[in-house]
Amino acid sequence: MKIGVLALQGAVREHCNSLRACGVEPVEVQYMFQLSEIGGLIIPGGESTTVGKLLVRHKMLEVLTDMGRDGFPIFGTCTGLILLAKEISGSQQPRLNLMDITVERNAFGRQIASFERDLAIPEIGEADFHAIFIRAPYIVKVGAGVRVLAKIDDKILLVRQQNLLAAAFHPELTTDLRIHQYFIRICADRP
């Protein structure tokens, strides 16, 4: 099975490296036709307004929305989380409109507030996950079908809604592969 990394802008190389380290062949996805070659898609960190506009210009936004509704696995990190959300506080920017979550962009503040810290994520194992947050969003509200997998206080940071997975931080910047492996299992288990 191949897994795609949306390659319009952002930390594409890092996600490809993580997938390779998991033994999965990555595909840098720039065009619609490539979507039929892959068993799942990662939307990497980047600038969400830029990636959203490029998805619209290349008519991929609606196609991905339809695929996501049909059960195609999508994993969004940071920008990817924002694009997966149905609600983005105070913004009308283009999005996939797939997950029942309300997201606050740059929620921790500007770059000077970017941080790293250990995070408990029982779903992927006992050991803490070292999470890197860069001008990160967080989720303020989730719908009934959304499972919260990690949070700090009331800030929700990792969620799953069936075939969809979204993280406010950047597992691709670390060598801990557990979240990528978790997504690969979602892709492999798809009926």
Partner: protein, 293 residues
């Protein structure tokens, strides 16, 4: 919880890859840039072409202008401090700017020393013309590099020279046996540990954008095909006759830099590029890339 770490500083640059950072002088221009798909803007009082034309001392921008631009957009905002002017940098950090550019485009404040960038929580981008200069800046704490090119000219020739030089020198380091690296470090004037890191990774330890002279979508795609991670456009957008269309076209060209059909499509009907200055006809003392050491 750790803030201002090397990881989060370099990490923001990783997130900007494949994108275009645009020089803007007003909130209105910042909005045009954001609307066109810029990944960040550089807040300035004057674009490099005007600094060049008007002369005088070029300093950090008025904080008022920077704040108004920060309030106008949701994308990251960068601003320039003079080389060695660590107090301008302290002020920019106090404004909570997202990235500081210690820039040769402004008049240098120190002829010997760059800023000790490790002391700041806000990350830095610095210019370089070759591998040694890039690694010295990284050694001082820069989290992102841009090849200098020749700012404010609209002539891409220096940007090409600088990325080709960096690439050449990286290839030399990668191909050299380990026992030659110390002598190479001495020749380059670069920290030994960083030369070793370049050999291991086969590239610079941080993200490297192109800057200085990019004026068309084709220029942007050229720099991307030569191996840059993204593009700074200074005067090239707001000194052209249709900034919104040109900005959008350069964003598309940077995202799809290998797709000649798309490049042809986006290069159509975007008006006249900035007139520019032919670098080959400039006197050596008129060039600003030589500032910094």
């Amino acid at each position: 919880m750790d803030t201002g770490t090397v990881m989060v500083k370099r990490g923001l640059a990783e997130m900007l890859k494949g994108g275009v950072i645009m020089d803007v002088t007003t909130p209105e221009q910042a909005k045009i840039a954001e609307e066109a798909g810029a990944v960040a803007v550089m807040a300035l009082e004057r674009v490099p072409a005007d600094i060049r034309a008007q002369g005088g001392v070029a300093r950090m921008s008025d904080p008022e202008i920077i704040i108004r631009i920060m309030d106008a957009v949701t994308i990251p905002v960068m601003a320039k401090a003079r080389i060695g002017h660590f107090v301008e940098a302290q002020i920019l950090e106090a404004l909570e700017i997202d990235y500081i550019d210690e820039s040769e485009v402004l008049t240098p404040a120190d002829e010997h020393y760059h800023i000790n960038k490790h002391l700041f929580k806000v990350p830095y981008v610095c210019g370089a013309r070759n591998l040694g200069e890039a690694l010295r800046r990284i050694g001082e704490g820069a989290a992102m590099i841009r090849t200098k090119g020749e700012a404010g000219t609209g002539d891409v020739v220096e940007a090409v020279r600088h990325i080709r030089t960096v690439n050449d020198e990286i290839r030399r380091v990668v191909n050299a046996p380990t026992d030659e690296l110390m002598s190479i470090a001495k020749e380059l004037g670069a920290p030994y540990e960083l030369v070793v890191e370049v050999k291991e990774k086969g590239r610079l330890p941080v993200v490297n954008f192109a800057a200085g002279g990019i004026a068309t979508p084709a220029d942007a795609a050229l720099m991307m095909q030569l191996g840059c991670d993204g593009i700074f456009v200074g005067s090239g957008i707001f000194k052209s006759d249709n900034p919104a269309a040109r900005a959008k076209a350069i964003v598309e060209a940077t995202a799809h830099y290998q797709d000649a059909k798309l490049l042809a499509e986006v290069s159509k009907g975007i008006g006249i590029a900035m007139r520019g200055i032919h670098v080959g006809a400039m006197k050596e003392e008129e060039k600003i890339a030589g500032r910094g050491w």
